[in-house]
Symmetry: C2
Amino acid sequence: MKVLVAGGAGFIGSNLVEALLAEGHSVVCVDNFFIGTERNIAHLKNHPHFTLHEQDLCDLEAVQGIFERERFDFVFQMAANSDIQASAKAPEVEYRNTYTTTFNILEAMRMSDVKNLFFCSTSAVYGDAQGEKMDENYAPLMPISYYGACKLGCEALISAFSYMNGFHSLVFRFPNVIGPRLTHGVIFDFLKRLQENPKVLTILGDGRQCKPYLYVADLVSCILQFTKNLPEGVTLYNVGAETQSVVSGIAEIVCQEMGLQDVEFRYTGGRGGWKGDVPVFAYDLSKIHAAGWKAAMTSDEAVIQTVRDVLSCRQ
Amino acid sequence: MKVLVAGGAGFIGSNLVEALLAEGHSVVCVDNFFIGTERNIAHLKNHPHFTLHEQDLCDLEAVQGIFERERFDFVFQMAANSDIQASAKAPEVEYRNTYTTTFNILEAMRMSDVKNLFFCSTSAVYGDAQGEKMDENYAPLMPISYYGACKLGCEALISAFSYMNGFHSLVFRFPNVIGPRLTHGVIFDFLKRLQENPKVLTILGDGRQCKPYLYVADLVSCILQFTKNLPEGVTLYNVGAETQSVVSGIAEIVCQEMGLQDVEFRYTGGRGGWKGDVPVFAYDLSKIHAAGWKAAMTSDEAVIQTVRDVLSCRQ
């Protein structure tokens, strides 16, 4: 199969590219290196089935040009601004890098008659459900971040484009995804802060924020499993681990893996880490479990493995 | 109050501008005359509290400039591509005129610290619920038109912007709205076709499409009632008539009002009039009824009055 991985130089994108190449597919990666980096895919550059285009997907004409030349069988839309905290002060980043990139890909698919799509959505579309377990039909969807808002807008576009053009679309709502090549988030921040000052760790909020963390290899194997034989229309799943990790517990794990003792934790206080953050959430995963998939790692196991991945890369 | 009516030269927009002026407000109308027309507001041009800017709201810098100069108390975002049938072949029209205009208005509100918003959403966000009665928490929302998809995307943006910036936002999901200055839709089409050929009327679909039609004066009075004392956050209502009108019945009304007899109806067949059309829908209106509003006209009364409005304008 010839596939496009949009945002393929990003954290999840580059892990997916590796897995697709390992399965024997020809992979075209398009990335603007806004969050993704050349380093993430440097080891793939000489692979005979790997092609890289440095291109901003906000340019519809350029995207259409790539689609006309490459004739894709399947499109994985992984391009987005994934740093919610950063876009809280600049919503236009989400308008461009999350929404417009998706619109342009859907429009290019429509014009070039490409029918198969995978889209990475997010738990952020649900907004702050105050810890209530959310299944895929949870309502109302009231995102509190610009990132969640633009991802929900993308899901809506996929619904209409799929109906109007007979697309086969798979949409996964991810929780926090972690693992090698992580670019931001609580684990990344803790490691960085402790490397700068191993005696004191500042923790945003009250440390009781509690969410499921999913290891990226678990997610990638799930994507590969469910993109085979997609039915027409939109298929939507919550994807995650059944367990959750508490922020203060993540701090403990990071200290332990770094071999640090007696680190003073300083909490900034308040329920959420920052405005737009959903401090507590839990998925109802019945639908994807019934379809034959479960995360291999618990949330805490994913945290521990990720800390080890990042530390071993830095040595 | 100084208010912006974005899209104020359009069908619903111009009816709203009249009502706001009649209540004593200062009204600034911004329109790009893509669907709206100068004719719709010609009678208001010399009103001492009316200002018109011809401006495409897709230009964020220009929108911000207007916000900085005018210092609005309240924003009514009525600008959109309202012709769903037309955008079915050109989704980019919705991306620009429905989604981007709304993003730019929200961004300008954020930058200029304007807190009060009215937004006209649509029944099209629900998708095709196969006639099931939809309340505001109906899920999943699976729009089948690009218009419905972009409006749902706008609702998501409003949710995030309201949370992040303390906006007071009112969102109405409209059904088909009809009345003086109508620009398209089934009544408009039937009148035009019968004026060209009073013997035969082509009807798209099987004629059994059945939807609630709301008279524009009813809607405008509802908007004025609910924009007073808005609470912080997003307040969302379905707005409509409890009754519905059937397309073949609308054809009968139009013939009768035009004084035509023995018109041959030719049905093109199929459930929906065109791809992306939701042929049958019904609202659950409990929420807005409980809040103290009901439509004054039934759906059929609205159809009859609209046919008379349009015919009397054309004489």
